[in-house]
Amino acid sequence: MISATAKSAYLTGVRDGLPFVFMVIPFAILFGVVAIEAGLSLAQTMGFTVLVIAGAAQFAALQLMLDNAAIGFVLLAALAVNLRMAMYSASLALYIGSAPMWQRVLISYLNFDQNYMTAVAKYEDVPDMTVQARVQYFLGVSTVIAPVWSVASLVGALIGTAIPEALALDFILPITFLSMVGPMLRTLAHLAAAVVSVVVALLLIDLPSGSGLLIAGVCAMTAGVIVETWMKRDRA
C-alpha cells in the first residue's frame, strides 16, 4: 500500500528528474551512433544500454573494443569507471538500507550519477522523509531518466546520425553536474571536500579511468570529516 506522502514523493521525483532529459538525450544518442559505427549489432547496442546502463563505462568499453584490446582489459577498465558507484551504494544504505530487498535491487540497477545525486540532496534537505518516501522519490527521478536513456540510444542506433558537434551539446553534461555541485556546498567542510576532490582527481588523471577518482573521493571525504571536526571544536 503506497501512502499519499510516498506517492507525492514519487511525483516530486519525476518533476526533479525532468531537467536531466536535456543532458541524457545527446549522450545516449551518441552512444547508439558510435556503437553501431563500431560494428555492434542493434541487439548488442541495446544490450549495453539496457543491461549495463552506465554511460561512461559503456563509452570506455567501446573505445577499448575499437582498439581490439584483450577482453579482460576491456572488462577491468569499464568496471573501474563504475567503482565510484560502490560509494554511492554505501551512502544510499544510510538512507534506504531498511527498504525491502526487491526495492534495493531495483534501485541498485537504476543507480547512476544523476538520480543518486538528486536523491541524496533531497534526503539531506528533508531529513524526516520516511524510507518509503525516499524510495519513491528515487524511483520518480529514475522514471524520467532511465527510459529516456534507452530510447534515445535506440534512436541514435537507428538513425546513425549524432546531433551535430557544432551545437556543442557535449558541454551540457559538465554544466548540469556543476549546477548540482553548487547546492551541495552547504558548509566549509563540504567546500573543503569539493576542493580536495578536484585537486586529487586532476593530479591522478593519468591513472586508469575511475581509479584516480576513487582515491580522490576517499581523500575528499576525509577532508570533509576533518574540517567538520575542526568546526565543531571551534564552536565548543
Binding site: P19, F22, Q44, G47, F48, L51, A54, A61, M65, L66, N68, I71, V74, L75, N82, L83, M85, A86, M87, S89, A90, S91, A93, L94, I96, G97, S98, R104, S108, Y109, N111, M117, V120, F171, L173, P174, I175, F177, L178, S179, V181, G182, P183, M184, L185, A193, A194, V195, S197, V198, A201, L213, A216, G217, V218, A220, M221, G224, V225, E228
Partner: protein, 111 residues
C-alpha cells in the same frame, strides 16, 4: 573490431553483472546494519567528494576542443556552479550555465 559475436555478448554480460554487483554491494549486503560512526560521517560527503573530481577534467580539457582549455567553457562552468550555489536550485544553475555557454560561443563566433 575483431571479436566474435559470442565474445561481444560475453563482454556485455560480464559488464552488466559486474556493474550491478558494484551498485548493489553495500546497499544490498549491509542494508540497515549499523556502520562505524566514522564511516557514516565520511559517507555523508560522498556526492560532494565525487562529482567535482569527475567534472573538473571535462571542464579544463574538453574532448570537443581536442583537450585544449577553452575560456568560454570555463566561464560557463563557473557560472553554473555559482548560480547553483546562490539559488540552491539545480535548474537555475543549468539555465544560467547553458545561457552563458551559448552566448559565449556566439560572441566568440562573431569576434
Amino acid at each position: 573490431m575483431t571479436y566474435s559475436t559470442g565474445e561481444i555478448w560475453l563482454i556485455i554480460g560480464v559488464l552488466a553483472v559486474g556493474t550491478f554487483m558494484i551498485r548493489f554491494s553495500f546497499l544490498g549486503l549491509i542494508g540497515d546494519r549499523p556502520m562505524p560512526p566514522l564511516v557514516l560521517r565520511m559517507l555523508r560527503y560522498t556526492p560532494v567528494a565525487i562529482l567535482p573530481g569527475m567534472v573538473a577534467p571535462l571542464v579544463l580539457w574538453p574532448a570537443a576542443t581536442g583537450g585544449a582549455p577553452d575560456l568560454v567553457r570555463i566561464i560557463a562552468a563557473l557560472i553554473a556552479l555559482g548560480v547553483g550555489y546562490l539559488t540552491r536550485k539545480v535548474i537555475w544553475g543549468m539555465a544560467a550555465g547553458v545561457t552563458a555557454f551559448y552566448t559565449g560561443l556566439w560572441l566568440t563566433g562573431l569576434l
